[in-house]
Amino acid sequence: MEYYIAIASIIGIHAMLGLSVYLVAISGQMSFGQQGFFALGAYLAGMSTALWGLHLLPALALGVVVAAVVGLLVGFPALRVRGLYLAIATFGFGEIVRLAFLNVRYTRRIGDRVVGPNASEGFRHVRYIYDRGITPLEYLGIILLALAVVVVLFFALERSKLGATLRAVEEDEVAASMVGINVTRAKVFGFTAAAGVAGLAGGLFVHYSSYIDHDMVALPLAIASVTYPIFGGLGSFVGPLLGAVVLVGLTESLRALHDAREIIYGALIILTMLFRPRGLVDEALVLRVKGWLRPRAVRRPAPAP
C-alpha cells in the first residue's frame, strides 16, 4: 500500500510538471527549463516550513510566486528567441538554477539537525509532514487536491478565449498578430503561469520526499517533464496527465523487467513520435471526441450557399 501511495504521489507531482511544459508548449514554445522553476519552488517552500516555520499553504504559495516572478523575468528576454534556440536557452536557465543551488549554503541548526540548503549536501530535513503527523495517504490527498485545482484552471483556460489565443500564437505568430493578438504578452503569460505550476510541483515534492538536491533537478527531470506532454499529446491538458500516468506507471510496473525498463521507455518515445508526432491526444482526436459529446440537436443543417 505504501508503495502505491508513493507512486500515486509521484504521478501527481510529475503530472503537474507535464502540465507546466504543456502550458509553454501550447503558446508555441518548448522549455527544457521547467526543472529550474521546480527547484525554485521546492527550495523556497522547503525553507518556508523548515526554516521559517510557515504553514504549508503559504509556503507553497511563496514557492509558486517566486517561481512565477522568476519566470516573468526570464520570460521577457528568453521569449525573444524561439523554437530550438529557446529550448537551449531554457535548458541553460535550468542548469544555472541547479548549479546555483549546488553552491548556495543557507543553513541553521535546529535541535541536532542542520537544516536548509547546504550546497552539494542538498537540502535535508524538510520534516513538516512528519512533525505534524500527516500520513503519506493524507499527503497524497493534498497533492491530488492541488492537482485538481490546477486541472480545473487548465479546463477553464482551454475553453476560454485566452486558450484559443495561446494556440493561435503557437501555430503562426504573424497570423496571430494579424488578428490583433499581442504575441509577446501571450507568450510571457504562458511562460509565467507555467513557471508557477512547476514551482507548485516543486513545493509539493520537497515536502513529500523531505529532501532535495541539485542532482534531482538535472537533465533527466527536464527530459521527463517534456516527455509527458509530447508523448501524451498536445491537443488537450488530458495529454500530459495521460503521459504522466502511463509513463510513470509504466516505469514502475516494469520494475520486474528492471534491466529493460528505461530502454522500453526510450523506444516508446521514438515510436510515438513516428506515428503520432503531436502525441496520443492530438488536436484531431480532441475535436472528434468533442463531436461525439456534442448533442445532435445543436448541429445545424448546412445553409444554402
Binding site: A78, A89, F93, L99, I223, T227, I263, Y265, L268
Partner: protein
C-alpha cells in the same frame, strides 16, 4: 612576469588546447544541425557508445591503442547510422519537436544499455600519451591536451577540405542552404543526410576516444556532459556555422580554464551556462553570425 599573469597564460594555453576538444564536439553538433536543421540530442550518446565499445578489444585481446581508436570510430559510425534510421528517416515533416524527442528517446536507450552492461561504473582507459607533463618554455602542458590539439587541427583541415573541395561537400552545403533547390538540381538529400551522419559519427569516435583519455576512463556521465558543452559551443558559434563552432569551442575552453583557476571549479559550469543564456539573448546568431530569421 607576475604570478597571476604567468598562471593566466598557462591556463590560456591549456584552455586553447582543450578548447579544440570542445570545438570538435560543437563542430559535430553544428555540421549535423547545419545540414538537417534538426538537433541530434543522441550525439553525446553516440560519442559515449564509441568510447565504451573501443575498450572491448582491449579487455578481450589486450589490443593496442590503435585498435581501440579504430574501434571507437567504427562503432560510433554504426550507432550514428542507427540514430539516423530510427530517429530521422521516417519522421513526418513539419514537426520541429519530433526529432528532438526521438533523439531523446535514443539517448535514453543508448545510455541505459551502457549503464546496464557496465553496472554504471567507469571503465579505466589507457593513457597512450603518458602522464608526464611536457615543458613548453616555462609552462607545463599535458601531453594528451597536445594530442587533442594536433588531432583536432587535422580534423578541421579535413572537414574544410571535404566541404570546399569535394562533390560531397558541395552537395552538403547546397542541402544546408536550400534543400528543395538542391533536390531539384539532382542532389539526393537522403544520401547527403546519411553521409553527414557518417562524417559526424566518425568525429564522435575521435571525440569519444579523447574524452575518455583526458578523464582516464569511460564514464556514464559523459553523454550529458558532452551534450551540454556541445550545445553551448554550437550556440556560441551561431547554429550551423562550422567556423563559428571552432571559435566558440576555443572561447569556451579558455573561459573555463581561466574561471577554474581564478574563481574555483564550482563556478566553471555555471559560467558556461550563463554565457550560453546571455549569448542567446543578446546575440542569438552567435559570435560570428547575424540574427536568425
Amino acid at each position: 612576469m607576475g604570478t597571476a599573469l604567468f598562471d593566466g597564460t598557462e591556463q590560456l594555453i591549456n584552455g586553447l588546447m582543450y578548447g579544440c576538444f570542445y570545438a570538435l564536439v560543437g563542430g559535430g553538433f553544428t555540421l549535423l544541425f547545419g545540414v538537417l536543421r534538426r538537433f541530434n540530442l543522441a550525439y553525446g550518446s553516440t560519442i559515449m557508445a564509441g568510447a565504451y565499445a573501443g575498450l572491448i578489444p582491449v579487455y578481450l585481446f589486450k589490443a593496442p591503442v590503435l585498435v581501440l581508436f579504430v574501434t571507437t570510430i567504427v562503432v560510433s559510425v554504426l550507432v550514428g547510422l542507427l540514430v539516423e534510421f530510427c530517429c530521422f528517416r521516417f519522421l513526418r515533416k513539419g514537426h520541429e519537436l519530433a526529432p528532438l524527442m526521438t533523439t531523446i528517446g535514443m539517448l535514453i536507450v543508448i545510455d541505459e544499455t551502457i549503464v546496464h552492461l557496465t553496472d554504471a561504473v567507469g571503465l579505466k582507459y589507457p593513457a597512450p600519451f603518458g602522464d608526464e607533463s611536457l615543458a613548453l618554455g616555462p609552462f607545463l602542458i599535458r601531453p594528451d591536451y597536445l594530442a587533442i590539439l594536433v588531432v583536432s587541427i587535422a580534423c578541421f583541415s579535413a572537414i574544410f577540405w571535404l566541404m570546399h573541395r569535394t562533390r560531397f561537400g558541395r552537395a552538403m552545403r547546397a542541402v544546408a542552404e536550400r534543400p528543395e533547390a538542391a533536390q531539384i538540381l539532382g542532389v539526393s538529400v537522403r544520401r547527403v543526410n546519411v553521409l553527414t551522419f557518417v562524417l559526424t559519427s566518425a568525429m564522435a569516435g575521435i571525440i569519444g576516444f579523447f574524452a575518455a583519455v583526458s578523464v582516464g576512463s569511460a564514464r556514464p556521465e559523459m553523454a550529458a556532459w558532452l551534450t551540454g558543452k556541445g550545445l553551448v559551443v554550437m550556440v556560441l558559434g551561431g547554429l550551423g556555422s562550422f567556423p563559428g563552432a571552432i571559435l566558440g569551442g576555443l572561447a569556451l575552453g579558455v573561459l573555463e580554464f581561466e574561471a577554474v583557476w581564478f574563481l574555483g571549479s564550482s563556478y566553471r559550469d555555471i559560467l558556461a551556462f550563463s554565457i550560453l543564456f546571455l549569448i542567446l539573448m543578446v546575440r542569438p546568431g552567435g559570435l560570428l553570425g547575424s540574427r536568425p530569421a
